[in-house]
Symmetry: C2
Subunit: 411 residues, 2 copies
């Protein structure tokens, strides 16, 4: 049984396509989400359907796999049962790949003011907030109130924060530039904060510097060593400094879902499960934990929580399951770092790959090709290429819709 | 000032593109919605972004037009003010084109069990309910409970009801056919009800008969002269007859928004404003009401509430506004019926046009061409053509995502 159809669970299931194995794949969504492009849904560049593929379609022809829509509430490793909101299911071997959620570092009251970006619902909420901010500023009669309405603060300058800041800058500088009569969208302030001393802290320092330069070139203000002390409805505080801002977005911390405690395994500070080198639980040979939920030691640190690591772990867990069934010993996992890529608005990006450091349009092009290559489904690939080409040539965004939630301007 | 950026308001604003006129266009959405294809969002064939275009983009280069996101709460015709949720705006001439909403004929308690289809939120809710129904049946352990879970009842066999029924039949017969392991989606029951004696009651009787035949050929059960007496969480009653059904959809009645009463004009039973032949209010030469909110007498009846009528009224109101400004008398509106078209699943449709009655694949092809022609925006046209071609060739639906609301299976 596999819990979660993200990158880890999907690749594990695909690699267990043997008629002698019966797979039950459980996810709380009916679709696999291509998370690396989620920020493009949040910034109106793509529609949810472009980056999601129904899990049932993916496994339609893989007859050994039964897909179940269900939400895990706990795992009973003693009795080998998964408890779902709507019932229980027994397993022989379990691969847990349910991913992570946001962490507000103990300040859950910030969540309502600073949404994070993990799900399509999150992305649509961010899109709604960003678009409503411009609409509200347009009808604002007090000119003093406008700057805060057009201030967007992104907390956390990892890849997602950098990409979100770049895309928001592009919207204000190009997409919306001529669409309003009372405000000038190009005056919007996009502020990217990080607690560490540079953007993209997991990247080599020279690329961090280049990324910051590219961000500043398109109008993003970068503030490093910034420690958030308060977020409320009117803005954000960094110690004594107060920034009035209507829109604050959270790209900082990740945490495990609370139900992961039921696995009864040691966990790190973020709640991630400390697995053995073969990806199994310390006390249970038949339970694998992979992807963002797993803390896999490697060298002096841990394997990073990125899509390529989840994919490799999914494949590795599948391989170990097959070896177990053949009576062979399990193998230890070793993460092969294939490099990293982050994009920064139009035709700018940074990348490193086997010692090469790239930036600018070449890195951006690599980013395009790789992201299209790994997208699941022909239709999605085509649609994403078309939407990117369209939006690149026209500066328009295809999905500028305010849907759901509070659609009203609000002063 | 124009209220509403549906077909009526949009075409009125486009025809008032003169530098001497200042237009304020107010809508509670930030997008123009191509309502005739909304049922395709409800049935996962298209994404919301495919059939919606941001109003600001449409008027980006029409400099005499200011777009405002705002919800009308009332109109003060004496003092020539529109009252919005966030403030008041004065007008000289007003064109009201805010459309209609659902009517449950006095049974508002049915609304929660039988959602209607007027907005993108409605369409996503219907999509969610339909997809969750199959997911729930798949995990159902009591085989007796499954038939009701896979029964879909559509109340109202006008064009929307017919199109929705056809698309749901296509999903169960083709799209989902191989995706489940415990249920056979082709066994789903799609039931189309109408209180009148035939489907498409506003069409010529021979086309109603052909439409019913085409519907039955793709597996839709049609029930005419059916009078709904109760809808609740477990099904629907027609007098003594009870139909157990998890999913009931409402395509029957329309009604005006309650705020329309503030216009102080005589209204028909559905709350529509009875306008004069020149489309103005009886007591106010400077207030036009057009589209689904207007009851425009013509011949023995009223102009139908369809998109072509709203477009013609929008143009006509604009022409009368220009004539007024030139000191010329207003002209009476005359609806030119360009024919009607309704599609029924794959490659089937009925149409009538200037005395010609068409059905089958020719009518379906006419339907495709006309709907693409009237879609606003190049990107939408391209995207819709692509999605249709893709879904026609592969039997897949591009937007099978369960988003928002309750995503859980529920037995």
């Amino acid at each position: 049984m596999i819990l979660g159809a993200g990158f880890g669970g999907l690749y594990a299931a695909k690699h267990l396509n043997h008629p002698s194995i019966r797979i039950t794949l459980i996810d709380k969504r009916n679709y696999h989400l291509f998370q690396p492009l989620l920020y493009q849904v949040a910034t109106a560049g793509l529609s949810p359907g472009d980056i999601a593929a129904p899990i049932r379609s993916i496994f339609s022809t893989q007859k050994n796999t039964t897909v179940i829509l269900g939400e895990v509430t706990s795992v009973d490793t003693q009795n080998k049962k998964v408890i779902l909101a709507h019932g229980e299911i027994d397993y022989d071997i379990l691969i847990v790949a349910t991913g992570a959620t946001h962490s507000y570092f103990g300040h859950n009251e910030w969540a309502q003011h600073a949404p994070g970006l993990k799900s399509i619902e999150d992305a649509l909420e961010i899109r709604r907030r960003a678009l409503i901010a411009y609409e509200t500023a347009e009808v604002e009669t007090d000119p003093e109130a406008r700057p805060a309405q057009l201030t967007f603060v992104i907390v956390g300058a990892g890849p997602t924060g950098v990409e979100l800041a770049g895309a928001l800058a592009e919207i204000s500088q190009h997409t919306l530039a001529r669409d309003f009569r009372n405000i000038d969208p190009t005056q919007a302030r996009i502020l990217l904060l990080d607690g560490q001393s540079r953007v993209l802290p997991t990247y080599p320092p020279d690329l961090s510097a280049k990324a910051q330069k590219q961000l500043e070139a398109i109008g993003v203000e970068v503030k490093t060593n910034a420690h958030v002390t308060c977020i409320d409805a009117t803005g954000i505080s960094l110690g004594d400094e107060r920034i009035a801002a209507r829109t604050v977005l959270w790209c900082a911390g990740v945490a495990a879902d609370p139900w992961a405690a039921s696995l009864g395994a040691p966990r790190d500070r973020a709640g991630r499960i400390l697995v053995r080198p073969d990806l199994t639980l310390p006390d249970h040979d038949n339970v694998y934990v992979i992807g963002d939920l797993a803390a896999v030691a490697q060298g002096e640190g841990f394997v990073p929580g990125v899509a390529p690591a989840a994919i490799q772990q999914g494949r590795h867990a599948a391989r170990n399951v097959l070896r177990t069934l053949q009576g062979k010993p399990q193998l230890d996992f070793r993460y092969v770092d294939k490099g990293s890529l982050a994009t920064i608005g139009r035709a700018a990006a940074v990348a490193f790959w086997h010692g090469f450091h790239l930036s600018g349009i070449i890195a951006w092009f690599a980013w395009l090709v790789i992201h299209i290559f790994f997208l699941i489904g022909f239709r999605n690939r085509f649609s994403v290429i078309f939407n990117w080409a369209y939006s690149y040539l026209t500066f328009r965004k295809s999905a500028r819709l305010i849907i759901g939630g509070n659609r009203k301007v609000d002063r």
